[in-house]
């Protein structure tokens, strides 16, 4: 029986993967071929989706951008034996985009059937948990600290230190909360891993629970990912039935369960305290910190709040050992980062690499430049709260500190590429507008500042006192940066200030006609 892989990833589905799978099944039965269709996750070579793979004697051979209407011709070309076809991309693992990666977090994503526990175990699943169970909880925390893992949600806080705080705080119960409210434009790594290797996230949560002595874990997933919720919900049921969740996890004395909760379209709920409020059933209003969630989190109990990627990496840190992970990367940015390359880019996708590439290598070498064929003008790094980086700064090294030094942030590893048709005043305006739409309303700089920001940018565009209004806008940004309660208001100025600094011509052109009069 030949195995044919057709991704169930939402990005593949968005381009007709379900229809392709159905067409392959139909055509195979009509032609009398015995095949098994596996709905795998995505390999992350997203510009090739739907990427159909066939398992052959020489490895897995891929066919990119397959449409249902191509299926008959694929059979004509004997694709089940790896035959030549115009959509063929050869052995996927020889593809340059794949070969340059160091897949740790995403090691199974795209390769296995995400909902097959035997497949998971055949690819190392469960080894991390077994190693953790062989250690004491305190040793587990120390292992995470040693790995150098930092929060992948954007803040980059050392995960081990957070866990230690939770474990050391006296309480009657503790929680593990996974932040899957992946709202940043240009990011999709959480979605991909939850669809492509959901067991890894649950295994990571279980290790976290064991390490800090928590018996309950929540995953707060955004509502914009309905398909992810389906896959992940099934994954929880499968692990419960198999005894990986519930009382006596895998025959141990440790009990742990996971529940999936769905957000309701509020971007601010990606901020950890707002997320906790939402989980408790309240308005998603940000809390003042301290106390930090590690001390008083969900229902006032010590709570590990970590991003999906941080937790999904945990099983591999234990499987390979903390040192293996810490040996990758540069400076204080250890390990790998799943980059998400998106927007106006030729080879958009997910590429997991060690920290330390330059931005230029990422955008031009991996991403292949702008999809439109025009010159790249700006890259927004780290979502709607991240700075716009101009081409002259493409020598910037991808690590937390190097970015921070130039007033930029890595965030969740998303990069959105813009070509030279982009109007940076408009993008700055959008940054403020988005903040105004999504502000929780608790603190004044964010709630009022964002709306005033939109108005001030409109005045600049209308040519009203351009220089004075640019100064006012910069001043407003400083107030928001330092006066806001959380990262939404505190970082919303970054795209605006970076646009002002690097693309002044897009703001000052409106003052020219007035000067000419």
């Amino acid at each position: 029986m030949t195995k044919v892989f057709v991704p169930l990833d939402m990005a593949a589905k968005a381009l007709g993967a379900d229809k392709v799978a159905a067409a392959i099944a139909k055509e195979a039965s009509a032609r009398g071929f015995d095949i098994e269709i596996v709905r795998n996750g995505s390999r992350g070579l997203l510009w090739l989706e739907p990427l159909v793979e066939v398992e052959t004697a020489n490895g897995r051979v891929g066919f990119g951008n397959v449409k249902a209407s191509d299926v008959a011709s694929l059979f004509d070309a004997n694709f089940l034996a790896g035959g030549q076809h115009k959509l063929g991309v050869g052995k996927v693992e020889d593809h340059p985009y794949w070969k340059r990666q160091n897949r740790i977090t995403f090691k199974r994503c795209g390769i296995t059937d995400p909902l097959s526990l035997s497949d998971y175990e055949a690819h190392g699943g469960g080894l991390g948990l077994a190693k953790a169970f062989a250690m004491s909880p305190a040793e587990c925390v120390a292992e995470v600290t040693k790995s150098g893992l930092r929060g992948r949600g954007g803040a980059g806080f050392p995960t081990g230190i957070k866990w230690k705080t939770v474990a050391d705080t006296p309480a009657d119960r503790r929680y593990v909360v996974v932040n899957a409210d992946e709202g940043d434009s240009g990011t999709f790594a959480d979605r991909m891993i939850m669809e492509g290797d959901p067991f890894a996230l649950i295994e990571g949560m279980t290790i976290a629970g064991y390490a800090v002595n928590a018996s309950k874990g929540y995953v707060y997933l955004r509502s914009e990912y309905p398909q992810t919720a389906q896959v992940f919900g099934k994954a929880i049921e499968i692990l419960r039935a198999a005894g990986w969740l519930g009382p006596k996890v895998r025959g141990s004395d440790f009990s742990f369960d996971v529940e999936l909760r769905i957000g309701a379209g509020a971007y601010v709920c990606g901020e950890e305290t707002s997320l906790l409020e939402s989980l408790e059933g309240k308005r998603g209003i940000v809390r003042a910190k301290p106390p930090f969630p590690a001390i008083a989190g969900l229902f006032d109990r010590p709570t590990v709040v970590n991003n999906v990627l941080s937790i999904a990496t945990i099983p591999m840190i234990f499987e390979y050992g903390a040192q293996h992970y810490a040996d990758c990367g540069v400076g204080r940015s250890r390990g790998t980062m799943p980059l998400q390359i998106a927007g106006n880019v030729r080879y958009g996708g997910l590429c997991e690499v060690n920290f330390g590439l330059t931005l230029g290598e990422i955008v031009n070498d991996i991403g292949g430049g702008a999809k439109s064929g025009r010159p790249v003008r700006a890259v927004q790094c780290g979502g709607p709260l991240g700075a716009y980086v101009p081409v002259k700064d493409f020598d910037m090294v991808f690590d937390y500190e190097a970015f921070a030094k130039r007033d930029a942030l890595i965030g969740h590893g998303g990069l959105v590429v813009f070509d030279d048709t982009v109007d940076m005043l408009q993008m700055a305006r959008f940054g403020m507008e988005f903040c105004a739409i999504e502000s929780c309303g608790k603190c004044t700089p964010c709630r009022i500042g964002s709306t005033r920001g939109v108005e001030t940018i409109d005045k600049i565009r209308n040519g009203e006192n351009v220089e004075a209004n640019i100064a006012l806008l910069s001043d407003l940004c400083e107030t928001m940066k330092w006066g806001s309660l959380c990262a939404l208001g505190g970082f919303a100025p970054y795209p605006v200030l970076s646009a002002l600094r690097h693309y002044p011509e897009d703001f000052r052109k409106y003052s020219l006609p007035a000067a000419a009069e």
Partner: protein
């Protein structure tokens, strides 16, 4: 999209009661109510408030905080168009503007025949295939005018 049921207070109570064992049940209840009736009816707000032992004002606050919870029924089909940065980099704003004008639609409005509600969404995680959309929960990548016109036609037909 499955047909939404007409509001029924007894059914709503069943839904509320089924969730009371959860920690922090408000969000799961609101989602289940909206799944059943297609929106969160005004009448259900005091009902939930009573079950959770909080004030009506607090419950009203929760419902109105989140963009997803509708106060009125949507059309038979819902199209969510992404307006975030990645989609903007591929011309989503002009695409959406032209589309809305062409079909006399508007953001967060339902077409007069009740077939289609158009909503803005900020990122669907399909950013390598911008512009993107979600039609009745199904993802659509590399959206163009042709794909949008086909969706309008399909919505009208069903």
């Amino acid at each position: 999209m499955p047909e939404a049921a007409a509001f029924d207070a007894a059914r709503a109570q069943e839904i509320i009661d089924a969730h009371l064992g959860l920690e922090g049940p408000a969000m799961p209840i609101l989602h289940a109510i909206q799944d059943e009736f297609g929106y969160v009816p005004e009448a259900v707000v005091p009902q939930i408030a009573q079950a959770l032992n909080i004030s009506r004002a607090e419950m009203h606050g929760v419902v109105t905080f989140y963009h997803d919870f509708r106060r009125h029924p949507a059309g038979r089909h819902v199209l969510k168009l992404c307006r975030a940065e990645s989609c903007q980099s591929m011309g989503s704003e002009k695409l959406a503007k032209d589309f809305l004008e062409r079909h006399k639609l508007d953001w967060h409005h339902t077409s007069p025949d009740g077939s289609l509600t158009v909503e803005a969404v900020y990122c669907l995680g399909l950013c390598a295939h911008s512009p993107s959309a979600l039609y009745d929960g199904e993802p659509v990548g590399l959206v163009d005018g042709e794909k949008l016109d086909a969706i309008v036609a399909e919505a009208k037909a069903q």
